[in-house]
């Protein structure tokens, strides 16, 4: 065709918009909005969920996530240091751990922890909070280990050499020079990890729990049966977004402040290359 590169790009963009509008129109005209509204926008059901959805559901989601995240950070940091250790056995053990738990669904780990620990230690009564802390931490730690490793390796070797030349031991060098600098680098990906864990905490509903232990998803599911309406799903979803959207913004803010990768504009995405 005789079209210039720029002209072709304009045409391509026009086609993209046309497709988008077509999809929206088709969905809008074919869906039964009345039934959707009946199912998801039941004011009585929504009202009936308060304040429990916040004081129990939201609270427990935050607690489970915070516990799992804290444990995961500690575990991930240890694993990352093992991955970077000069001791071969540590490196191998950490690599095995990471590959193993990164490859398993969080749900399986939660079920395994919930059942295996009471089997292995018959005297122990496994508190739900502890079980989730362990399970979410075990999974999150595997992911975070890779984040930490990348962050630690991003600290220039010269920083380590300077610290060692001043007489700092490996431990002191890590504590006072490497980790503080790596921390800045890993804050944005770590925030993403926290968002993922927030959502994974919903898997807690597969472990038996008392009413006080319900987190958002389970709270929504119970309300779903109680009110015979889908509205609780919407309410629970909004509650998750109340947690995760501020975290997303925080992550982007940190990324900008620490001079991380710029958020790409539409002009620089792969789509344009295809055009």
């Amino acid at each position: 065709m005789a079209l210039s590169k720029r002209k072709r790009a304009q045409v391509f963009r026009g086609v993209q918009y046309a497709i988008l509008v077509a999809v929206i129109v088709i969905v809008a005209f074919t869906a039964n909005w009345g039934r959707i509204a009946d199912a998801f926008l039941d004011a009585e059901a929504a009202g009936g969920m308060f304040p429990g959805v916040l004081t129990v559901g939201l609270k427990n989601t935050v607690i489970y996530t915070a516990l799992g995240f804290s444990f995961g950070v500690v575990l991930g940091l240890i694993l990352a240091l093992m991955r970077l250790s000069s001791v071969r056995v540590y490196r191998v053990l950490a690599a095995i751990y990471i590959e193993f738990f990164r490859g398993l669904p969080a749900l399986l780990v939660i079920l395994a922890v919930g059942t295996a620990i009471p089997l292995a230690f018959p005297g122990v009564i496994l508190d739900k909070y502890v079980a989730l802390m362990l399970a979410l931490g075990i999974v999150g730690g595997a992911y975070m280990a890779e984040t930490f490793r990348a962050g630690l390796q991003a600290v220039p070797a010269g920083q380590v050499e300077a610290a060692r030349s001043l007489g700092m031991s490996t431990t002191k060098t890590n504590t006072w020079v490497v980790i503080p600098q790596a921390f800045k680098i890993i804050l944005p990906p770590l925030t993403n990890e926290l968002i993922l864990l927030t959502k994974d905490s919903s898997l807690a509903l597969f472990l038996g729990s008392t009413v006080d232990e319900y987190e958002l998803t389970q709270y929504g599911r119970v309300a779903l049966n109680q009110f015979r309406s889908l509205t609780p799903v919407l309410v629970a979803g909004v509650c998750y977004l109340i947690i995760t959207i501020p975290l997303s913004y925080l992550s982007r803010y940190l990324e900008r402040r620490t001079g991380g990768k710029k958020i790409s504009s539409p002009e620089s995405t792969g789509l344009e290359v295809a055009a």
């Binding site: 010269g158 300077a162 610290a163 030349s165 001043l166 700092m168 006072w176 600098q181």
Partner: protein
């Protein structure tokens, strides 16, 4: 008697014998013998890849030698039982790329090792740090972050950081090579002042004028060996070895060399 023994021991700051080092198949140091007396300034010159930086980095064991011994202040660093961290406290090092701690301001760059390694309390460490900043003429930069400083200022801070540990020996690894030409002078002035104050210094450098003026002894290295050594007027002013002459001709008259190539 005993004072005489310690007297002779303390005359020698650095004693290197038969030092060898390879990186894979590449033998970078092929048997180096070197002695730096207390208060002496020794400059190491030579083409890139001659092993001068590796030699310097072996003096505080940032590179582990394959063979030979490195004795600093009577302590054999190559002894497997040597506590290298405690030995390094007495050996200051200044890097080509400054390597200031990027997350700490200037004052904390100078105090962190004093506090965490020497166990000085914050007040004492800060007092020493400020005194050393004064020495390098950067007192007003105490609260700046490294990336707010010019290269020359960063290097002077790096020197002050090393000095804050009260080192017996200072190692300089091409301290001005990464600097814009107009910033080189400030750093060399600080080093000149240190030399006059009697600091023992081992300097890898391409600054021939500095070496000629400040050094007590100049070593010319090539191919992992010390090819020529002696007082600066001899090694730089009147080199005996062909390789030294060729190198100096290139360094001192780079434009003429380029025309010769053309």
């Amino acid at each position: 008697m005993s004072s005489q023994v310690t007297g002779t021991a303390s005359d020698v700051a650095v004693e290197i014998t038969g030092l060898t080092k390879s990186f894979g198949p590449l033998q970078v140091l092929r048997g180096i013998d070197l002695r730096v007396n207390r208060g002496e300034v020794v400059c190491v010159i030579g083409p890139s890849g001659s092993g001068k930086s590796t030699l310097l980095r072996c003096v505080n064991l940032l590179e582990e030698p394959d063979g030979g011994t490195v004795i600093v202040d009577g302590v054999d660093l190559t002894d497997p039982d040597c506590d290298i961290d405690s030995a390094r406290r007495r050996i200051g090092m200044v890097f080509q790329s400054f390597n200031l701690f990027a997350h700490l301001n200037v004052l904390n760059n100078l105090t962190i090792a004093q506090r965490k390694v020497l166990g000085r309390d914050r007040a004492a460490a800060q007092e020493i740090a400020l005194a050393n900043l004064e020495r390098v003429g950067l007192s007003e930069k105490a609260n700046s972050l490294p990336n707010q400083l010019s290269g020359g200022q960063q290097q002077r801070v790096a020197i002050a950081r090393a000095l804050s540990m009260d080192p017996d020996v200072m190692l300089f690894d091409e301290p001005t090579s990464a600097l814009d030409p107009e910033l080189v002078g400030d750093v060399l002035n600080v080093m000149r002042k240190l030399a006059i104050e009697g600091m023992t210094m081992l300097v890898v450098t391409h600054e021939m004028l500095f070496a000629r003026e400040v050094a007590d002894k100049v070593l010319f290295m090539d191919g992992g060996l010390i090819v020529e050594e002696g007082p600066p007027d001899q090694v730089i002013g009147d080199p005996q070895q062909e390789r030294t002459r060729t190198f100096l001709a290139r360094v001192l008259n780079p434009i003429g060399q380029r025309e010769g190539d053309g």
